[in-house]
């Protein structure tokens, strides 16, 4: 790593991309910082998918081990770091969930009962909370039926057919709900970020 890169890591708040490329070079300090920044939100995601805190912590270990090995695969041009991490976490959690389901019928995924605790770093927490506000605002503009399809697919990992059975809609309607809902979400989020960037200037 360049001296400048090191100085930046030591000085304070490196960008996600810098952290991930430092991790790709085997930098444990950067790895620790990345963990502190994103372990809480990823654990929240895993708990919500798995409905079990212990399983979620276990999968979180797997996720961060995978990040240690694969940090070099992250490409900043293709999207945000948190989204890359969340995609890894979600895939692992859905795999684990189907393993568990094949062992026993999973109780409906309940929201985790653990009380919300502040993440370690208030700046990280504020950034995550800001993104959450953008998402909530965008989702609020999407009709309930479309939103429900998105959430059943994302958090429960249901297929098109399973969603159709669950909500009692034809397959084609599920497809168009997913399409319109996700396209709107994309557009609202883009607009919301553009507003924020303008607000910053």
């Amino acid at each position: 790593m360049s001296a400048a890169g090191n100085a930046k890591l030591e000085a304070g708040r490196p960008e996600d991309g810098e952290l991930l490329s430092a991790v790709a070079r085997g930098d444990r300090q950067a790895y620790r910082a990345l963990y502190q920044r994103y372990a809480p939100i990823l654990l929240g995601l895993l708990s919500r998918i798995l409905g079990d805190r212990g399983e979620a912590e276990d999968v979180l270990q797997e996720v961060f081990l995978q990040i240690w090995k694969k940090a070099g695969d992250f490409d900043e041009r293709r999207g945000r770091a948190l989204h890359w991490l969340a995609t890894i976490a979600r895939n692992r959690a859905l795999d684990r969930r189907s393993t568990i389901e094949s062992r026993r019928r999973l109780a409906p995924a309940a929201l985790p009962d653990t009380a919300y605790q502040q993440p370690l770093d208030p700046v990280d927490a504020a950034n995550v909370a800001e993104e959450a506000r953008h998402l909530h605002r965008a989702l609020a503009q999407i009709p309930e039926a479309q939103r429900q399809v998105l959430l059943l697919a994302y958090f429960d990992g249901l297929s098109q057919t399973e969603i159709a059975e669950r909500v009692g809609l034809p397959l084609g309607t599920v497809k168009s709900h997913a399409r319109i809902g996700l396209t709107r979400l994309r557009d609202f989020l883009a607009a919301s970020w553009a507003d924020r960037e303008l607000g910053r200037r």
């Binding site: 444990r28 809480p40 995601l45 270990q61 999207g79 945000r80 948190l82 605790q117 399409r179």
Partner: protein, 264 residues
Amino acid sequence: MTTHEGYREALALHALGSLEEAERREVEAHLETCPHCLAELAELREATANLVHLATPLEPSANHLQRLLDALPSAGGEPRRAAATRASAMAPPTPFSLRELLKSKRFAWSARFAVAAVFVLLIVSQVNLLERLDRAYLEIARMREIGEFVTSPGVTLVPLWGTDAARGAHAKLAYEHATGHYMLFSSRMPAPPAGRRYQLWVISDRVRPAGAFSADSPDGTLSALPRGDEPFIFGMTLEPENASQSDEPTGGMVLMSAPVHHPR
């Protein structure tokens, strides 16, 4: 479902990972040939990943990070122990020491040589493999770039054929009218003789140089584009290498296109 629009309809479910297996395979096959759908899928995946913010952050338990750090492979690449599970955060493992193994009397010289040879072989094959992987990744990225360029809407594809001077040679020139960016794909082109290089021309009622061409870097920017003097043809000649850019062709024509009209 066979149309582009049909596949496009399915992209959101694909981004969410909710397509049934058969349809997923069909969509993936389409994505290999459709950069537009590929780009849209990337956006939809990014929108999907945003849903992570609906989760409530939870603080991992106190020793979670330490167990994780203990489970990381060490700098030498040897895992200190297998991936940690919840049950494994107990007794510290005995570290494996290559040095002690090599010092032990039971470990005969012949075995030391064998181990050394295996290590060297492993390292050499690893390096080779990584280099080949790197090259393969670059190649894939390049192919993707070419695919995206050739299929983008503003790009015209013009075939060129070898004249008597280069029988059997042929090429396809893909160029973007708005920017002049081009890629030339050629086959069975004779290597230019020493001190000469290929030069592309735009020929209508006037003859204008459009750029030097070398087999190593078959893309660049056309320095001349037809403006209202259509139809025109593309031609390729052999010119002296040291001339910065010839204004008039001096060598004979090697490749020629048919007359080109631009859609308006």
